[in-house]
């Protein structure tokens, strides 16, 4: 299908090609090492989990606590998804905490003060988030003001607006359906059991879907002559992941079932994972972050991409605000304080590069989970908030330092 036939001049090697090692065992090992390197963050999560389950005498892994971990960190993870996309494009968003607070307050007006139906309140709140994104995206993409400045201003503007909307009071007592976003569980659909059958069923379906998808991808790659990982390692990884999902589902099933927040998160991760990996929009985000000029000269509409990126971030910040408000059953002036820093930390711990162009949704989620486990584990241990802060800061620093060291060793820039 190539358009071009050229007779390359022979013998002009501009650099020796390095032959990969030929021995099978060597290949196998290099694969595993490369994989571990790529998924180092995943290994780190496991290490943190194991460490804290020892330190907390196993409390960390109790079903109720696992369920709490998801619900307590849901809004940070939602923000991390949007944030890592913004960071990949080479920007930053400092305003998400304030926007979450603002939208939480506005949703209180909709759902409580005005008494609108819960679903309408949610839709309108997400629209408000989109409008916030339009506002910030306009300044960043079309006026060309650095995102750092625009969102720093936004941090103040929307915190101020949140306070103005609340008028120095809390808005509380949301409708039950609204609260479900933060507190709800899908459970007991089939009656009461020791282990919730719905949770286990969903987990089984998820595992089957994952295996089918992985096998199809592998076949597809192989049929195009792409290198695939050794079969043993492939199967081994699937078994490990299956076991992980199984244990996780067991924990949820023996507590209250599937948290609604987890469903929201799962949908976000799936949808945004596909967007970042397989859609033109996602590719353009990576291209912009990797080299803005080159992307522009390749026909990428860089300003539009940036604009929509911030609209998207606004919607996700709104969603995070809703989940947080629903969980507390209260829209208050301090809501969302420091969320932006946790979301940014999650993205960087998850392997995003400060210069842009590098990062993944999955990485950001795992980064967010690491922060979540640290928070949770240290709280269980009764460590004060002051030391929790310091430890989290240290972890962020070490994670990025490790990443930089790894890249340097690999001979990167």
């Amino acid at each position: 299908m190539s358009d071009l036939e050229t007779k390359p001049a022979s013998n002009t090697a501009a650099g020796a090609q390095v032959n990969p090692s030929n021995s099978k065992a060597g290949q196998w090992l290099s694969h595993v090492i490369a994989d571990l390197g790529k998924n180092g963050i995943f290994v780190a999560l496991i290490v943190v989990v194991v460490l804290f389950s020892f330190l907390t005498d196993g409390i960390l892994l109790r079903p109720q606590n696992i369920s709490n971990l998801i619900v307590q960190n849901g809004y940070i993870l939602v923000l991390a998804v949007g944030m890592v996309m913004v960071i990949i494009a080479g920007h930053i968003d400092l305003s998400v905490g304030s926007v979450a607070a603002f939208v939480g307050a506005v949703s209180g007006v909709f759902a409580v003060t005005w008494g609108l139906p819960w679903w309408l309140s949610i839709i309108l709140s997400l629209l408000v988030g989109a409008l916030v994104g339009v506002w910030q995206g306009f300044w960043i993409a079309y006026v060309g003001i650095p995102a750092f400045i625009v969102t720093l201003a936004g941090m103040l503007i929307f915190r101020g607006l949140a306070l103005a909307v609340l008028g120095n009071a809390n808005i509380g007592s949301f409708p039950a359906e609204y609260r479900a976003l933060g507190n709800g569980f899908l459970t007991d659909v089939f009656g009461e059991f020791e282990l919730d059958p719905l949770t286990l069923g969903v987990a089984a379906l998820a595992i089957i879907a994952l295996i089918i998808q992985q096998v199809r991808t592998r076949r597809g790659r192989a049929s195009y002559g792409q290198e695939v990982e050794p079969l043993v390692w492939f199967v081994g990884k699937l078994v490990l992941i299956t076991a992980g999902i199984g244990l996780f589902a067991y924990a949820l099933a023996s507590y209250k079932g599937i948290p609604v927040t987890l469903i929201v998160l799962a949908v976000l991760v799936l949808v945004y994972g596909v967007i970042m990996n397989r859609s033109v929009f996602g590719r353009h985000i990576y291209a912009i972050g990797g080299n803005l000029h080159a992307a522009e000269l390749s026909g990428v509409k860089t300003r539009n991409v940036t604009f929509w990126l911030f609209v998207n971030m606004g919607v996700l910040a709104a969603l995070a605000g809703l989940i947080f408000t629903a969980r507390l059953n209260l829209a208050g002036p301090k809501a969302g304080d420091g969320f932006e820093l946790e979301a940014i930390s999650a993205a960087f711990i998850g392997g995003a590069a400060v210069q842009g162009g590098v990062g993944t949704i999955g990485g950001a989620i795992i980064g967010g989970l690491i922060i979540g486990v640290l928070n949770n584990g240290m709280s269980i241990m009764g460590i004060g908030i002051e030391w929790q802060q310091a430890v989290k800061g240290l972890v962020l620093l070490l994670a990025v330092a490790f990443d930089v060291y790894n890249k340097r060793r690999a001979g990167g820039r």
Binding site: L4, A9, N11, T12, A13, Q17, A287, N291, A294, A295
Partner: protein, 509 residues
């Protein structure tokens, strides 16, 4: 005391898996200009890094003898203390500091209390600038002077360190002919003052002009050292590529069809200063199967013309008409230009052409990602297949298409850029300095690709400041000076002399 200021004896340097230098011996006589030639990746830069202490003693084997003593540099400060100064291709100047501040960076002229003595700094700078023939106020900021002058500031900085051996790594790569000439003359002038220099260069004519001896390096080995009177371009090329290059340009039998692109009255102004005309009423055309050259010095408006045409990516107040196959088209955005079958490969691959942290595959697909979309999603298997086909057909030397483009050599990077544009299936390709910074062998391959594109009936515009190259590959050449087309020559009438004359033609004032 021998006549050699520097002897590098049996230098071997290995990186994991690669022998970068193998038993290289280099002797440089005191007071000479010694040229080092070789393809990209041959080991020239590695050798200079060994010499200057970037790779410290102990990481290589062999001896470095400088001024009759064996030296063991731990870092670049050590070598500078001995009077060896290297000036890299990418200049190490701070754009927001003044010329004088840059010259004395980390070597500040101190007065009482250890504070910086600005009078002394500036007056010393003036003296140094005079030695390199640069008439500029020492308080001017580096960002406000051109690359040519920046290069001179680097040399002034070297002189301030009492340099005995000056190493210049491709000093003229980014310079126009006038600035290059000035620089080369300066090297000869410094030689008169007893400063020895080593110049690394691709440009054979300038090597011939300034050097007293040429050492050719290929695949990490020193092939031979040629004395001045025996230097010929053919011999150097033969040493560099390890075979005879009978023709430096592939055979090209033009098969020219009807007009494919015509530009009328194209005018563009400076983006920041809309009163400055950068491209002035340019009229030109390209026919199917034709390779048309645009010859112009740096600053003549070549890139400005191409980029203002290609989606208005340069300039302000742009006017003029573009016709494709006789029909008027608009090229107001890059997307519009691409959709109309125009492609532009930039002169600056690293800044404007490639996403260096991304792999070959994703770079190739970038300009035509839409072609790979199935059911709303990018088919990455198909993408892999396409990229692999280009890797083979364009002879991109990389183990897989998943290799990051930042790790490729200049020639291979350029092949990735060309693949990207060819995949967008254009009718007209504008190639801006397609062989800049590329070694001889890869140049030949790029020329062959250009020929193949023309043979498929595409129109190709090649912008270049290397006249032999334009004369070697084009069917017709326009000359550009001060934003205006000053001449048009069928290849049979194009001689370097006439082209130069028209390239330097000034506006009647």
């Amino acid at each position: 005391m021998t006549t050699n200021i520097l002897e590098m004896r049996g230098i071997t340097k290995t990186f994991p898996g690669v022998k970068a230098l193998q038993d290289v011996t280099l002797n440089v006589a005191r007071g000479e200009v010694h040229a080092i030639c070789g393809e990209n990746g041959a080991g020239k830069s590695t050798l200079m890094k060994v010499l200057s202490g970037v790779y410290p003693h102990g990481t290589y084997t062999g001896d470095i003898v400088f001024e009759d003593e064996i030296v063991e540099f731990k870092d670049i400060r050590d070598s500078e203390a001995k009077g060896i100064v290297i000036i890299h291709q990418e200049l190490a100047l701070s754009p927001y500091l003044s010329i004088a501040e840059n010259i004395f960076l980390n070597n500040e002229q101190r007065g009482a209390l250890g504070l910086i003595d600005w009078n002394k700094t500036n007056s010393e700078a003036v003296k140094l600038l005079a030695r390199v023939g640069l008439r500029e106020n020492p308080t001017t900021k580096i960002m406000d002077i051109g690359v040519g002058k920046q290069q001179l500031v680097e040399i002034a900085k070297a002189l301030s360190k009492r340099v005995k051996l000056l190493i210049l790594d491709e000093p003229t790569a980014a310079l126009n002919d006038e600035d290059s000439d000035h620089l080369l003359n300066l090297m000869l002038h410094l030689k008169g003052q007893g400063i020895t220099s080593i110049i690394i260069s691709h440009k054979l004519n300038e090597i011939k002009k300034v050097s007293d001896a040429v050492t050719v390096i290929r695949d990490g080995k020193a092939i031979e050292t040629i004395a001045k009177q025996e230097v010929t371009e053919d011999r150097i090329i033969k040493d560099m590529v390890g075979r005879d290059l009978e023709h430096r340009y592939p055979d090209h039998t033009p098969n020219i069809g009807e007009e494919i692109l015509r530009v009328e009255d194209w005018t563009a102004h400076h983006p920041q200063d809309p009163t400055r005309v950068m491209v002035d009423n340019v009229n030109l055309n390209v026919r199917r199967g034709e390779i048309v050259g645009i010859a112009g010095l740096m600053g003549a408006g070549r890139t400005e013309f191409a980029m203002s045409l290609f989606g208005r990516t340069y300039g302000s107040r742009i006017s003029g008409k573009v016709f494709k196959g006789g029909k008027e088209i608009k090229t107001r955005t890059v997307t519009e230009a691409i959709d109309n079958g125009i492609a532009y490969a930039t002169e600056d691959r690293k800044t404007y052409g490639l996403n260096l942290i991304e792999d070959i595959k994703r770079n190739i697909s970038m300009a035509a990602l839409g072609k790979l979309v199935k059911g709303g999603l990018v088919d990455d298997n198909e993408e892999f297949k396409v990229a692999n086909e280009y890797r083979t057909s364009m002879n991109i030397k990389a183990p897989t298409v998943l290799a990051k483009t930042g790790k490729l050599s200049g020639g291979n990077q350029q092949k990735v850029v060309l693949s990207k544009w060819i995949y967008s299936n254009p009718d007209v390709l504008i190639l801006d300095e397609p062989t800049r910074g590329i070694d001889v062998g890869a140049k030949y391959e790029i020329y062959a690709i250009i020929n193949a594109l023309a043979a498929q009936g595409k129109g190709v515009i090649v912008i270049s400041s290397e006249l032999p190259e334009l004369i070697g590959i084009c069917d017709r050449i326009y000359t550009l000076s001060e934003g205006r087309i000053t001449g048009e020559f069928p290849i049979t009438d194009a001689t370097p002399e006439t082209l130069i004359k028209h390239m330097t033609m000034e506006k009647a004032r």
